[in-house]
């Protein structure tokens, strides 16, 4: 087991005046992640799908402990990351890496590509000067930035969006990590470049035996890269399963809605669109019971009061919905 996340919770406190806190006696928080659990097997890719504001990016940062969880445990290869002290965690970072959504913002504008990609090696003291240089060149050619010796001298602003993301990937993978969080890694790129980068990420996964947590709002991209998918809504995982299972036979009403929103290439096939009514409720004052009930077409009385349990439909499938209560 590569990663085992259990009952993970993250609340962000809202800044409010001291007087208000004194008067009302309560502190308001954003419930970004509400009690989620999932596992990722070695060399598998888990897709984390959800709308913006569903807490998927927060989850990605939590599992790398870039932000501190409010509660819950994250066990990486039998080691509880949440309990690690500062220095061991810093050393562990060469094994667990992240690829960010916006490559331009993720690169220091004053750092040449070569220096940016080499820096993780400097940090973790891997190799000597020449070895590092060779490793950088090797990594850059692996992400198809050729000629690598030319790219090392360039600044991020001199690259295209796709090239920048290749640099970010090269930087993330240069220390040969085992687990990589890809946070909307291809969302900001053109569609044509997007598929190239997905191919690259798949290729690198094979080369380096990577395990991905692939975070995306776009269900279609998960098809190419993910072994399993977890659908998030308002900080909870409402359904997990393989791509085939979820795409062909979505169980949770929210997943159904998501899938009906995926554009169909053939205009002749009419799909029944089932876009849920209303907006995503804000994560400060969460709905009672099932978080989806205000928008759910199948909502029952029970949904308003009782939080649905996690129901296992099969060995690989889980759904969090009262419709499947036995």
């Amino acid at each position: 087991m590569m990663l085992k996340v259990k009952n993970l919770v993250k609340h962000f406190p809202i800044r409010q005046s001291f007087v208000k806190t004194m008067l009302t006696g309560e502190k308001k928080v954003v419930h970004a992640v509400n009690n989620i659990s999932f596992n990722i097997e070695e060399r598998q890719t888990l897709g984390l799908v959800g709308e913006s504001g569903s807490g998927k990016t927060t989850t990605g940062r939590l599992v790398l402990r870039l932000i501190e969880p409010t509660a819950g445990s994250i066990v990486y290869r039998g080691m509880d990351i949440t309990a690690l002290k500062k220095e061991p965690l810093r050393k562990l970072r060469k094994e667990i890496q992240i690829i960010f959504q916006d490559p331009l913002a993720a690169l220091n504008p004053y750092m040449k590509v070569g220096d940016a990609v080499r820096h993780p090696l400097d940090i973790h003291g891997i190799g000597n000067r020449e070895e590092r240089h060779d490793m950088v060149l090797d990594m850059l050619s692996r992400v198809n930035l050729e000629p690598a010796s030319d790219f090392v001298k360039r600044y991020p602003r001199e690259l295209s969006g796709g090239q920048r993301q290749r640099v970010v990937i090269a930087r993330a993978l240069i220390t040969r990590p085992k687990f990589v969080v890809a946070d909307e890694a291809v969302a900001m790129l053109d569609v044509s470049v997007r598929s190239q980068l997905l191919d690259l990420m798949l290729k690198l996964k094979e080369e380096f035996n990577l395990t991905y947590l692939f975070i995306t709002h776009d269900l279609a991209t998960t098809k190419y890269i993910c072994d399993r998918i977890a659908v998030m809504y308002l900080g909870t995982i409402v359904e997990t399963g393989s791509f085939e299972e979820i795409y062909k036979d979505p169980a949770h009403p929210y997943t159904k809605a998501l899938i009906s929103a995926v554009p169909e290439p053939d205009p002749e096939t009419k799909k029944k669109k089932m876009i849920p009514a209303g907006e995503v409720p804000n994560a400060v004052d969460l709905p009672s019971g099932c978080f989806f009930h205000p928008r759910c077409p199948f909502a029952m009385d029970k949904c308003k009061v009782e939080e649905p349990p996690e129901i296992e439909l099969s060995e690989t499938r889980m759904v969090k919905c009262h419709l499947f209560d036995r």
């Binding site: 890496q97 220091n108 993780p120």
Partner: protein, 291 residues
Amino acid sequence: MQEWSLSYRLGKGLRRLFRDKSGVMAFVGFAILLTYLIMAIFAPYLAPYDPVRRSGKAFSAPSKEHWFGTTNLGYDVLSRIIYGAKIALKIAFLAVAVAAAIGIPLGLISGYVGGAFDRILSMFMDAIYSFPGLILAIAIAAVLGPGVINVALSIAVIYAPTYFRVIRNQVASLKDQLFVEAARAMGARNFSILGRYILPNVLPSVIVVLSMNLADAIMTEAGLSFLGLGISPPTPDWGYDLSNGQRFLLLNYWWMILFPGLAIITIVLGFSLFSEGLNEFLNPNVGETRR
């Protein structure tokens, strides 16, 4: 490979420099500064007379022998101005270097660490900042006494908060940038995050503040010397010469006050033009919003 050659980049830089008025401004400022710098460095070769020895009749008007006239003690005004550039620049550079050496590291740490440490340090710096600069310098200079180092120190105290504020505010916003989070995700130590990710991003604005402060420092130094708190006479100093000259203004010895005054004005103008131009040169965004 051609686009990486030095001459190509130099040509591109120059073309960018003269693209609009600001580039010309920077160039004029730079030319003025260069003149004064040469004057300061080669003062012994350039000055026609020894600045602290009688070289002619007292109070002689500008003439062929004394282009800018002589003072009440018969010193050559031109020579004093040339040597004065040396003192002025020495103090200004020293003061700004000390101010930067205090303000930049404190600003970096304060902005990066945040919290109570940041608040207390900011409050302290703001307290210094809220004093009128010259008054504070006078107070410190009065305590320390005259001398190049002491004057430089008292000026440095006034300008350290400027660096602190500029750096602190930038660092506070930079530390939330994605590339800083990326560095943390790589496992970088705070020291290397500050040195390799944050510092390079604040450096351009530091350089601009630096050249602006140099102008201010020269004025403050002249002010201190004018009030008798700066360099002890008869060392050539523009501020002292101004105060000395104004005593004889009613006797129509205008050259004793005009030329040191012009020297101060032009060097400050030079620094201002240069820093203004540099600002637009280093931050291309500023130029675009103005046009």
